[in-house]
């Protein structure tokens, strides 16, 4: 016993180093696995509060761009509304009215955004108090941004599409060939769409949108344009480079989508899996 105590005392620096290094490795591994409730994240009272304070200053610097984006979005929405009125008959039977029941939108400000790491997170100023939970989708008027990961009372972190952990269901707009959206970590402008069948008629410039097979995003949220594509090594599927519509380096205002039926869909899927 004496010897053990002596050993610990003699090597206390090394043991402390091992302990702390192990602890940080544990946090790191946790952060690399998908959706594990994490201790280290910026959606806490402290860092969230600091980010909020600094954001209240810095958001003035890109007000003009934000205004332009809003005007652009308004224009688009108005086009949709006026076109709707013209052919109400055709559209009323499909989604737009249903959309109101199934999906709830919340707006939020981005307090912090990163795009240089291999798993990037945004911090937003809405949290549990505003009914934001894990697995809600996050978009801007231009397209997809990411998925809510951790939440605190007032803040939430969003796992960006620029992350190696994410696999988002996506499809070609003109046909319904589906695949998964992943990121190779190379540049913040391009993401990769994999597992698209080789029979799909892919062409450069085609639009990619969300596929609606997940319970997170509704179908038809824009993602990006086909930049280039190649057949997989196996020769069965395409790997497509997709240029994002969103400029991920400059995101000020986002919308959070809650799928009201997510629970029902999930329980149904898990039932049929059994």
């Amino acid at each position: 016993m004496q010897q053990i105590i002596n050993f610990v005392l003699r090597n206390k620096t090394f043991l402390l180093f091992l302990l702390l290094f192990g602890l940080s490795l544990f946090f790191t591994i946790q952060s690399h696995s998908y959706h594990k409730s994490k201790f280290v994240n910026s959606a806490n009272f402290f860092t969230g509060g600091i980010y909020k304070t600094t954001n209240s200053f810095s958001q003035y610097f890109n007000l003009k761009e934000q205004n332009d984006a809003l005007i652009e979005e308004n224009k688009k929405l108005r086009t949709i509304i006026f076109n709707l009125e013209l052919d109400t008959l055709r559209v009323s039977s499909i989604d737009s009215t249903l959309l109101g029941d199934h999906y709830r939108f919340t707006d939020a400000d981005v307090l912090k955004n990163s795009y240089s790491l291999s798993n990037n997170y945004l911090t937003i100023n809405k949290g549990k108090k505003d009914n934001i939970k894990q697995d809600f989708g996050v978009i801007t008027s231009k397209g997809i941004v990411g998925i809510v990961d951790n939440t605190s009372n007032n803040y939430a972190t969003v796992l960006s599409v620029l992350s190696k952990k994410n696999r988002i269901n996506a499809q070609l707009k003109k046909t319904s060939h589906i695949g998964s959206l992943v990121w190779d970590g190379k540049t913040e402008e391009l993401v990769q769409l994999v597992d698209i069948s080789k029979f799909a008629p892919v062409a450069v410039g085609d639009t990619i949108m969300t596929g609606g097979q997940s319970a997170i995003f509704p179908k038809g949220i824009l993602i990006g344009k086909v930049e280039s594509f190649s057949l997989d090594i196996g020769g069965d599927t395409y790997t497509i480079n997709v240029r994002l519509f969103n400029d991920m380096t400059n995101i000020g205002h986002v919308y959070i989508i809650e799928n009201m039926n997510a629970k029902e869909i999930k329980s149904l899927q898990s039932q049929s899996d059994e």
């Binding site: 206390k12 620096t13 090394f14 402390l16 180093f17 702390l20 290094f21 602890l23 940080s24 490795l25 544990f26 946090f27 790191t28 591994i29 946790q30 952060s31 690399h32 994490k38 280290v40 994240n41 910026s42 806490n44 402290f46 860092t47 600091i50 980010y51 600094t54 912090k112 990163s114 795009y115 240089s116 790491l117 291999s118 798993n119 997170y121 911090t123 972190t157 970590g185 540049t187 913040e188 380096t249």
Partner: protein, 180 residues
């Protein structure tokens, strides 16, 4: 006489503690709010917050030092949502600091009379470079977390290191007390 010197000692201790505390907070804030968003060429960021580890008083006890380094790394991790990568890197360089000090400063370190402000810029830069390279290598290995991307890890380490070393040297020159 004895009492007086003790009094001075306490005073000096206090000023060192306050200095370190201020340095800790300001470096973490600078890192979290400004330097993490530099993104030069979209992936190069400097991490000069390791100045805290580099310039921590040498005669102090090592357990406390390693623990503080861990806290430093963890605080930066909280800002970047990155798990424990900064903490791991900081703890490591804090642990291996004595041999690096010995290597870069040689005999001055053996005499235990080292004062960072009195060391010439050249050897200070060598010291920062070694610490930075170790730190960044661990940091980016854990961040990418994939051995097949070793080229990416090395690329990030190299370019960010250059940036960090320059900033560290500049800061240490700017904020060091004037030499007499």
């Amino acid at each position: 006489m004895q009492r007086k010197s003790n009094h001075y000692k306490v005073k000096a201790m206090n000023s060192v503690t306050i200095n370190s505390l201020l340095r800790f907070v300001s470096l973490v804030l600078l890192q979290g709010l400004v330097l993490n968003h530099v993104n030069f060429l979209s992936y190069i960021n400097p991490y000069p917050y390791i100045l805290f580890v580099a310039l921590f008083p040498i005669n102090n006890n090592r357990t406390l030092f390693i623990f503080l380094a861990f806290l430093l790394g963890l605080s930066v991790d909280f800002f970047t949502d990155s798990g424990g990568i900064h903490a791991a890197a900081c703890v490591t360089i804090a642990y291996i600091r004595p041999p690096i000090l010995k290597f870069s400063f040689g005999t001055i370190y053996d005499n235990q009379t080292i004062k960072f402000s009195q060391i010439d810029v050249g050897s200070r830069m060598v010291y920062f470079s070694i610490l930075t390279l170790f730190h960044h290598l661990i940091l980016f290995s854990l961040e990418v977390f994939n051995i097949s991307d070793i080229i990416l890890i090395l690329k990030k380490t190299l370019f960010s290191s250059i940036f960090t070393i320059i900033l560290c040297t500049l800061f240490s020159i700017l904020f060091s007390p004037k030499r007499k």
